[in-house]
Symmetry: C2
């Protein structure tokens, strides 16, 4: 039997386990210990379904009589109310009740939409996540964020809703394109500088193994990421304060995504270049030195991520970045609060003078330093 680790997410009556390891979907009893249900609906997409849907359905049939699969179109562009409605339609057509179990099989889009469907169907039914991308394994597994996009903004409609269990099988990453693996590594890398310097050193020593999809290294990276995120989220479930440090690199990153048009850069790619900018900003404000910036930039580059930001406006590039960051949903009354790092494995939120932010953007969008 393949080994697995368990990360326990402590949230009072909504606590749950994340099981992490390789070949977990080859364990016949991996879905044991879930509550009784009249029926189960596996929600997946057209890319993941041919790879894992039959396997997951067979595993669930060891525990449940009625297990159906709903395959949705693949991609962020389908993270909409219209697609969500397909889940509700299917549940109602199948007479799903309040004890029907939803299983999200896929990446972040499937996880967010299925989780939101579970949060809202009859005001809440149970759900389990089986994330099949590195990004969703290290990011969406913890925190309970679910939702859909609105034509006027990403993730604008959603809920905090916790799964009953998360099963992270690192073997599913074997079918993940290299570009998406790198994008997932961006969220892994951030946990080092914001919370755990030994993990940063481990990442530097093991980045080649991770890129080669070594199952043991990947499982360890997922486990550490979930542990750190769980620690942070456990202290701040509804994102009122501390949790914001998880957005290291995201303030700049969101500007890149919004400025390029969503879908041009992968979220993790934007976060990669965004972390480079946030590191430079931390240095400019005197919190870290140039050596530490260089360490981070080198690691981000070795992870296969961009370290130079795109030029969003030929006339006033920094101005465009500032404008986009000011309209981000995390800014309040137009004040941008950046996640900065201390160099000692901690992070904090601060506003920064526009001229220094401009200097950082100018440097990070024009050279590779």
């Amino acid at each position: 039997m393949p080994a697995h680790s368990t990360v326990r997410i402590q949230l009072a009556e909504r606590s749950y386990d994340i099981l992490i390891g390789h070949d977990l979907l080859d364990q016949s009893d991996i879905f044991k210990d879930l509550p009784k249900a009249s029926s189960v609906l596996v929600v997946t997409n057209t890319t993941v379904a041919p790879l894992y849907a039959a396997k997951v359905q067979a595993l669930l049939r060891n525990q449940y009589q009625k297990v159906d699969v709903l395959s949705l179109p693949d991609g962020e562009v389908f993270k909409t109310w219209e697609t969500l409605q397909l889940i509700f339609d299917d549940l109602l057509q199948k007479s799903a009740d309040r004890k029907t179990l939803l299983v999200a099989l896929g990446g972040g889009v499937i996880g967010d939409m299925t989780g939101f469907a579970a949060a809202c169907y009859m005001r809440g039914i149970p759900f389990v996540q089986v994330p099949t991308t590195l990004l969703s394994q290290v990011d969406s597994s913890v925190g309970g964020k679910t939702g859909i996009n609105h034509p006027l903004g990403k993730n604008m409609v959603g809920a905090f809703y916790q799964p009953l269990k998360v099963i992270c099988d690192s073997s599913t990453l074997n079918t993940l394109p290299a570009k998406e693996l790198s994008a997932g590594l961006a969220e892994v890398i951030k946990y080092g500088p914001i919370a755990d310097l030994p993990f940063l050193s481990w990442l530097e020593a093991n980045i080649d193994l991770l890129i080669q999809k070594d199952p043991v290294a990947l499982s360890y990276a997922i486990e550490k990421s979930c542990e750190i995120k769980a620690y942070v989220v456990g202290q701040d479930e509804k994102e009122s304060g501390l949790r914001a440090i998880l957005n290291f690199g995201h303030t700049f990153g969101h500007a890149i995504e919004a400025g390029m048009g969503y879908g041009q850069w992968l979220h993790g790619e934007a976060v990669g270049a965004g972390m480079v900018m946030a590191a430079h900003l931390s240095k400019e404000l005197g919190f870290i030195d140039q050596n530490y910036v260089n360490r981070l930039v080198h690691l981000i580059e070795k992870a296969g991520l961009p370290i130079v930001g795109p030029v969003l406006d030929a006339q006033d590039n920094a101005g465009r970045y500032l404008e986009l960051m000011r309209s981000d949903k995390k800014s309040e009354a137009g004040e941008i609060r950046f996640v900065l790092i201390s160099g000692k494995g901690t992070a904090f939120m601060l506003p920064a003078p526009d001229d220094i932010v401009r200097k950082v953007i100018d440097r990070c969008c024009q050279s590779s330093q």
Copy 2:
């Protein structure tokens, strides 16, 4: 200054107050003690807006700089995703942030949709309820149920989400049609037999005053109803057990609504006839005597509610009722669980033999007894 009562809803960190009294919307500081907000959006409908929107907007402007009003089309038929989307559109177009306050001004449909919008916008923003119908004052004020209808079922998509405060001004009932006042009284009356016999006696003594919209009697009835519902919900926030007794009369009532087509009978009217059936069923099963049934039927009739159920199928009326009740979302694996009363001011859930249920339906749909 007009007097008001306060019912405190105890729900740990989501506790809140319901203020109840007449002429509350003439108190200039009625919205004090709410959190700071960058902006406020009052959501109402085209019927209520001309009556109270300007007044509420002016009151809110005593506390907030930016107060807008969004007026939605009126009616259950608009309790849909499409209408909900109008709230999200408006919030995003106005750059509402996580601290924007939503105020629901209207009946149950406005309260449910605005509450659900508040639950989902950016995964949760604060909201206040100003219910303007008796039904919403005694029912939606407590319990945190929010949501919309799906083409395949009522209230199928929603969330449990608590307001910051509820302001029940019984004077707003002066503009309420008599038919809707009666419908609201159905939900008031139910609290007597399920939880509070002295309140049942009070209702019998004061039903004429209530029908005449006496502000003091109405305020007392609202206060008692909220107190009783709060007690029940406080022990069972997510509707796993005890809370189900609040559905006294609703199992039969939902069959009437579904069988007639939603909107033909008001919800409260269906609950009125449904309570008559539930009382008869309680008697047939030996829990109460005929005198007690007669008392309830008399009170329901004096409240202006129907006491005879509609014939839903000329061939097999009872069979049609049973079929509809079996497909209700509250039944599990096809077993109907009825809310029955003891005659001692308590209620409980039980299944019942089909032949006895048929007998009750046959009697209650064909005579006025």
